[in-house]
Every structure is written in structure tokens, then in C-alpha cells.
């Protein structure tokens, strides 16, 4: 028995999440930077992207803070959480504060800041790297 069964099982869940986060970040960045593609987006598109990202950040905050264990349907791929923790290992408490700030900005509907976008971009990059790594593991 090969190893494709396990790796594709993990790849499917992480690649879906990677697309979801990346698409939402693209939408927010188009709005934030007033890019020409913004014209093709509705208010609902932006609202949906905010909700997607708030939902992700809340789950991530709980996982990083190791609060009560989450029901499985809310859990994030462990590799993603571990990589975020590793990337911020020297300043996790500050990262959690920044995370909370971004959640507040997105929830309140206020304009999010460059710093929020930077944080969202860093998360999108982490999950993109992990998704590519898993893909390479089974097809390269």
C-alpha cells in the first residue's frame, strides 16, 4: 500500500482552505488598494470575504492560544497551525494581539489597515507553502 491515500486526504483539506483564504485576501486587497478589478466586486463579495477571514482568524486564535479543544468541524489543519506558530515563535503573544486587532477591524466593518493586510498575506503565504509542499510530496 502506497502513501497517496494519506497525502491526498491531507492535501484535499488544506488546498480547499488555501483557495478560500487566498481568494478572500485578493478581494480585500482589491478593495483596500482601490484597484481596477474592484469594479467587478459587489458589497456582498467584500462582506463574504471578511466573514471568511474572521471565521479563520477566530479558529486560528483559539488553536494558537490552546484554548478549549475545538469540535473537529472547526479545527484547522495541524500543519497550518504549527507553521504559523513556528513563524511567530519569538513573538507569539504580540502576534495574538495583532490577530485580535485584525479580527476587530474586519468585524466592525471599519477600514482595515495595511498592517491587517500584511498579517492576512502572511497567513495566506504560510498555507500556500504547506499546500505546495504536500502536493510535491505526492506528485513530484
Amino acid at each position: 500500500m502506497g502513501h497517496l491515500g494519506v497525502i491526498t486526504h491531507r492535501y484535499d483539506s488544506i488546498s480547499d482552505l488555501s483557495r478560500e483564504i487566498n481568494d478572500a485576501v485578493i478581494t480585500l486587497k482589491k478593495c483596500h488598494y482601490h484597484l481596477s478589478g474592484r469594479r467587478n466586486l459587489s458589497l456582498e463579495d467584500e462582506e463574504r470575504s471578511r466573514e471568511t477571514l474572521v471565521n479563520l482568524l477566530l479558529r486560528l486564535r483559539r488553536a494558537l492560544a490552546q484554548e478549549d479543544s475545538l469540535p473537529e468541524e472547526y479545527a484547522l489543519p495541524p500543519a497550518f497551525v504549527n507553521n504559523v506558530r513556528f513563524a511567530n515563535r519569538s513573538s507569539l503573544p504580540y502576534f495574538l494581539e495583532d490577530l485580535q486587532m485584525t479580527i476587530s477591524h474586519l468585524q466592525s466593518g471599519k477600514n482595515y489597515t495595511d498592517k491587517d493586510i500584511e498579517l492576512l498575506d502572511s497567513l495566506s503565504a504560510i498555507i500556500d507553502t504547506e499546500t505546495s509542499r504536500l502536493f510535491r510530496k505526492f506528485w513530484h
Partner: protein, 383 residues
Amino acid sequence: MYTFLRSQLLEVSNRCEVLLAKIAERDYPVDIQFHLDSVKEEVNGLQENLNQLIHDPDLDEPRLLRNYLASFKRCYEDYLRFEREHFLVLSRYNDQDAFLYHLLKAALSDTNYPQAPPLISATSSQYYDIALHNTPQLSTVFAPVCTCYFLLQVPDLFHELGHLIYHQNEELFIARFRDQLEEYVRRETVRAKEEELPVFETLFKSIGERWHRAWMIEHAANMIATWLVGPSFGWLHLHNCISGRDDIYAPCKYDEDWDHPSNESQMAGILAMLRLQGLENDAKAIERTWSHYKGAFGAQIPPEEHRITYPLDLIVVLAENVKDGAMTMNLRPYLQQSEHPNIPTLLNEAWRRFHEEPEKFCSWEEKALEQLRSTMGIAKLNY
């Protein structure tokens, strides 16, 4: 203007077009039309995504470039999966694949599995494997090229099927086990810390991750296979153990390669599932034979790390969890199939005859396969 990234997106879209046209040039059996339609739908969806990106006015905006490269990578991964899984299978689809598809379909009907089987292709130069997709009809089983001519290794096809069943119903098979595993890892990590055993502390930290990432999936797939095809899966695992790697207790140290759990722990899981099905005599016979051979691999007594890494009581909990999951899904266990001639009973009959009359097995196997092909309307395989 076509920038490099836009041209790349266009190239992927063109490749999809070419490969879809190649597939359309062939006739396929009615049976797999369902899969063919799903593949086309999937590729059409990919082409829509590519098209959206190609026409996105912000595609080369520097502040979005990292994000668009990620989008491109996901599209390219989808394309590669189409090329290396579905196109590979469909462009070479032949009598052998059709025979295996029918065999799998009949077996699934025997076991009461509620969905169409995955596509299957006898193109693997290695062993059985399955490429899973969230859309089940896009999942693909790769079988060894000689699968059609022998019966004894067919139970491993059910291990791959176990992966598919698990992929779609994960919570059903592992929720209770996962809670107990987490409790075990937490408790033992604290104890190792209190007793100042840093090596064991490190080991415990990695045990939870390994079980979560790979081992519980492999064990669950074994147990589902054992539920469906009974002792034949245990005998085949024994064959795999004695023909496989020497260290039957590896991996059980934190620095070892750990894609699969140890052979010894897999055997314990399979035996636990046989016993839960009431197949005690079969479990004993396999266990006795395994005990006879495993001494040849070195240590008769497992290293301490093995006992810690694969606690037997947790493996039994997993087997109970998988059994409950299989019952919830109404998957028919092997024992309830044995009244009727079907694929699982044929596989067990094959192993029984192999044990009793190994010198006559080959001719029996040839006739059994011929009869099987004839009931499926595939008189002769072109090879």
C-alpha cells in the same frame, strides 16, 4: 498584453482543451460514463477559474502578485491531477481496467457500499494506491499491472477502498479514538516531564502528530478492509510483513521515517478487528503463524518505545470505533456475506485453498478467475 503569468494560465487552459479532446476521441464502456462526465465537469470548472484569472485586470499588480501566484499554483495542481490521474487512466483504459472496475463494483455491492466505485487502473509499477478527491467519483485507485491474473493480493484493494470510505466519513471512524489518544498523549507527556525523561517527552510530543497525520488513517483503512474481507486481509498483511521491511517495530522512535505505522501494530489492529467480528479462530491462526516468523526479524520482545507509541488498548479502541462506524454506514461485514458466493468469500476461499493445497492453487486460481470474468461478460483479457 500577455505577461508571463497570463501566458502560463492560457497554456494550462489550452492543455486542458487538448486532453479533453483526446479523451473524447475514444469510446468508453457505459459503466464509466459517470466518471467521464465528472472529469469533464471538473476540468470545465478549472478552465472557468483559469479564464477568470486570465481576464482579471489586476493580475500583474505587484501588491497582488504573491496571491495570484498562489491561485496559479492551485490551478496548476488541479491540472496536474487531471493529467496524471484521470487522463492517464482514461487514455489507456482497457479490458484489464474494465475487469477490475467490475470486480470492485461487484465487491462494493456485496458489502452494501452506497456509492459507485472509484476509477481503477492497472498501471501501477509499485503496489496498490489511491488518489483521493473530495468528489468521490474523481478518486482513482492504482493497482499493480498484474492484478487481473492473481487473487491473493486483491484484499489490498479493499484497503484502498477503506481510504475512500474513511475520507468521506472520517468523524464516524475516529472521533472516540481521537479523544482517547489526545488524553493518552497529554497524560504521558506530563508524566515524562515529572519523571525528568526528556527523550520520552519528545517522543510523546511526536506520537500524537504521527497518529493524527498518518497512522490512524492507515490503521482505519486496514480495519475497514478487515471488516469487509475478513481473514483474507490478515493473511495478506502477513505476506506483506514477511516480504517487507525487516524492522517490524519501526517506526517507533522520533527520528524515523513514519509514513506508515509499524507492521507489528498494523497486525495488532487487524487481529483486533477480526476478534470484534467473532473470527477468533482465524485471528489465532494468523497470530500463530506471525509469531513463528517474527522471531526471524530480530527482537521477539518489542522495544519499550513500541509499546508506548502503539498502546494495544488504544488500537482496540480504534477497532471498536471503526466497527461502530462501519455498522452506522450499514457496511456488511465479511461474516454476514459468507452464505453467498461473492468477491469477499472468493478471496477467503482463495487463501483457504492456498493454505491447504499450495501446489494445486495455481490451476484453481486460473479457473476461478476465468469463471469470474465470464460472469462479468469479459471472456478474455487482451494482454
